[in-house]
Subunit: 308 residues, 4 copies
Amino acid sequence: MALNSTLRPGLIQMRVLDLDKTLTFYKDILGLDEVARTTDGRVLLKGFDEFDHHSVSLRLADEAGVDLVAFKVDSPATLERLKTATEAFGYPVDEVAPNTDQPGFGKRYGFTICTGHRIELYAEVMLSPNGPMTHNPDPWVNAPRGMRAQRFDHCLLYGPNIAEAERYFTEVLGMFAPEVCNTPDGKRFATWLTSGNKPHDLAFVEYEKPGKIHHLGFLLQDWNDIGNAADWMAKYGVKRDVGPTRHAITRGQTIYFWEPSGNRIETYCGGYTAYPDNPQRTWDISEVGKGLFYYEGELIPTFLQVVT
Amino acid sequence: MALNSTLRPGLIQMRVLDLDKTLTFYKDILGLDEVARTTDGRVLLKGFDEFDHHSVSLRLADEAGVDLVAFKVDSPATLERLKTATEAFGYPVDEVAPNTDQPGFGKRYGFTICTGHRIELYAEVMLSPNGPMTHNPDPWVNAPRGMRAQRFDHCLLYGPNIAEAERYFTEVLGMFAPEVCNTPDGKRFATWLTSGNKPHDLAFVEYEKPGKIHHLGFLLQDWNDIGNAADWMAKYGVKRDVGPTRHAITRGQTIYFWEPSGNRIETYCGGYTAYPDNPQRTWDISEVGKGLFYYEGELIPTFLQVVT
Amino acid sequence: MALNSTLRPGLIQMRVLDLDKTLTFYKDILGLDEVARTTDGRVLLKGFDEFDHHSVSLRLADEAGVDLVAFKVDSPATLERLKTATEAFGYPVDEVAPNTDQPGFGKRYGFTICTGHRIELYAEVMLSPNGPMTHNPDPWVNAPRGMRAQRFDHCLLYGPNIAEAERYFTEVLGMFAPEVCNTPDGKRFATWLTSGNKPHDLAFVEYEKPGKIHHLGFLLQDWNDIGNAADWMAKYGVKRDVGPTRHAITRGQTIYFWEPSGNRIETYCGGYTAYPDNPQRTWDISEVGKGLFYYEGELIPTFLQVVT
Amino acid sequence: MALNSTLRPGLIQMRVLDLDKTLTFYKDILGLDEVARTTDGRVLLKGFDEFDHHSVSLRLADEAGVDLVAFKVDSPATLERLKTATEAFGYPVDEVAPNTDQPGFGKRYGFTICTGHRIELYAEVMLSPNGPMTHNPDPWVNAPRGMRAQRFDHCLLYGPNIAEAERYFTEVLGMFAPEVCNTPDGKRFATWLTSGNKPHDLAFVEYEKPGKIHHLGFLLQDWNDIGNAADWMAKYGVKRDVGPTRHAITRGQTIYFWEPSGNRIETYCGGYTAYPDNPQRTWDISEVGKGLFYYEGELIPTFLQVVT
């Protein structure tokens, strides 16, 4: 029996082309808090509703994209068990020492999956000094600002052989796939994966080139905050991809747009309560346009063409 | 290590004083669907967004209140394991044969916990014929009506010795308590418990009399639907207890009110994403009024006085 | 001094190609009530929050489009005064007897303005038997259904010489233009006109062909109902033009879409409180894309190309 | 015929007990902008969506309450006409020179009405330098903060002989009363008055003591912002009176609360589109509890007991 011991995607490191502009976006517009900077110039951020040290790391680079996505697991014992199981699945694992490139984080195990992405696992991380209140707590310490992003929620990765990736995340990490989309010949075109009751923590779309990211998603409170996020985009010239709209897949309400370095961001809310015993929702690829963009009813061309 | 193998509270049976009036409320105002009636006159209902056969059973009786709360677990093997563990914890367990008093349900194990409530566990239940779509699904088959209740979400039970109950649900059933409230001498006054990422599936308040229920809660989409629910209450003379307001505890947005038989119902939305590794939120009993009724800032007298 | 004696656009008659399909849309999806049918086969409708007999008349025809837009004025004396002033402005006026083609309506004066549209004025109309409550009223008698349209709100007409049309509606009918858009050589490209505190009751865009309509707009409660309207469109295959989005012009939140006969409809909410003494907002035609579609930031091609 | 030439309540001067605390509330929590201070120590404020110089003046005093409510009229000619008509109605009128105690305001005529309140009329006022944009405008220049109050909307005054006050505002100032409440013997208990399409600009409740104010109201965008306002109240210890709730009267969504000096404030949104030709809504005093507090269904005791 698969132990559902993966908690969530807790850390993502993104490559950005212009640190200052991108940071202004993340802090003043999206509404994340800067936690710290590393000696090698990376900037560490988190949402106002996240307890752990940081969830987003930005690294200056020549090309935008994603360096790594790290999942928190529920204990050191689970971490060791998953290391062994990952190796048994066929992915060589390396170890990152605690509190090195990701300040506050305990030991991490990293490996590259078939889609070309570096995935990491960890069990321990320091609490952030400016996390949510825990004693007689108010809903927020300081009023959410800008787009009012609450937390890093999920990401959608593009790469080859996602059927194997799905198998890894379900069979080894114990996630399940509330929704999948197949081509007419029965091959996976896309899969949505979750560790718990969120409709997705991670998703994959089949893609020729490895290691690509379609978007990283941040949680907003509700549809009204989706409208507010759109107001901020328009006011400050943030380049919008699509939305405000709804996904039929996950049922979330959403906007896709690009931060100044060209990485796509999603502001997302809603979605059903996912359970592993509920029937899996299946999509024909001919209907996936409706599934992704319920109001538009068809695929937005950028969905398949623009990734970083 | 506790296996987090309890999925959710999947069934509640309530005693009602006037079946017709209560049913009109549940179907036409709250917006549940009637699934079936039993030969002994009970009525089985579910929300439009629930897959399983039914989640609410109404039984005509001389006194309002709750007959049982049943939790779905993730497999028959888990069910047997939890039966053994429950007996080891000290609660004698009886077995209810499949498809008897709860049509569509597989084998259930039942037992009375220290607070005087009958709790049941089950691993299998038929899908409802009118559940959500699963192939190229729309968000709803028929537009939600009335208060637009999506699903049975949680309940708050009153009874003695809730510290033991909390221990049972965490240590045996593998739930965790994102928030607790203690008296000045360190005793549990209240506890909120969840199997997953919802802020609560179940809660307890310490109370002298056993087997009481404070409310059962139904999930709405968002704060706007809370307002809509309040419009329906006012229009149709539903007796309101408190709200629209926010809980600081769970952070949900809410209204408490009474159905025609006097059982309290909650229409609830929002709430944070709960994780077992996040710090537990703790409440002083002196601040629990703010915790429960964030806008009112103090306990509503009915909170401690009116239960069924 | 201009007497601000025009109350609102109270009646619009539309030509439709398929009465049954269009009616199903208007009643079951948009949420209007059918009030009556005329002996010549037209169908009369109104929103749940309108008091007057009807506000929308649908006529079967070979070509979609608008037959007439009628404005209610505040008294029979005003009606006579405006008839005279309209003739003095240069538009020949005809008279329609009470209770003829528009059951429940008093005497109407009609005339064709420079843009090729038939405009009518009237001062008296019967109340609808199923209008809003007036004694100890609830907000609604029956819960709004479908897209929850509250009332006919405004329309946007296309035709030649809109500068003259604006002059007619402001100088003769006493409206004012909270916003206008000019071409670089200072000619009117578009104008928004209102009789009161709504940001618009009527708008014009300069267009070569006379007598065209871009859309008729219906009022929704708020942004959440805009989202609900989009859900209904997607579910029932209503053809969407653009939205959910915001207009910077009027500041309203909106979706444009087409009813089954090809006339464009808007579901609209929000917008600022307009006052005649506030500065007029002016738009450069180079920025009107942002003005119309604030989130998209540019003109949608259908805006200038598709009218009926 | 009454010319509907009063535009809106454009200015209110309130007496406050602690200028610093009250100002912190108005600026940081309610979200108004400070425009200027007068040489005699008053502070002038406005909402982000108001064009005129200021709409709220705060004066330090020994007793909280209202000094004056001033209505803007549509022209200097109207101002003179209304001065004459006011005197003819029986209220002696004094004149306040331009740009004296209210910087930026033109000539004002003032008088005390039967309810004991000082009412003023004016036709001219400077624009505020930080009003909304007028050329290719965004919806806001700086994101609304705190409770996101958009503008001063209306006030509810308490005093004797409100039937006469209603007569003054309708017959002389050309307003109309969309809703009224009578005692069983047919006397006015309360009246709601408007100059345009807002459901109220001003309201009166019959009260023994003259010159009292129940609340001044500020416009919010929608029900979601009502919830946000409640979050701010709870977070910052603002003393709440009632809400979030809905008025059946005006249909607005609302919270009443007190600023630090004890004057009651309302954050308000929604409400129907009012028209003078629509039937007047009438309330029996036995049902006015429902009318005022639709969700509570009865009068809140403070409604009749606490005024300043």
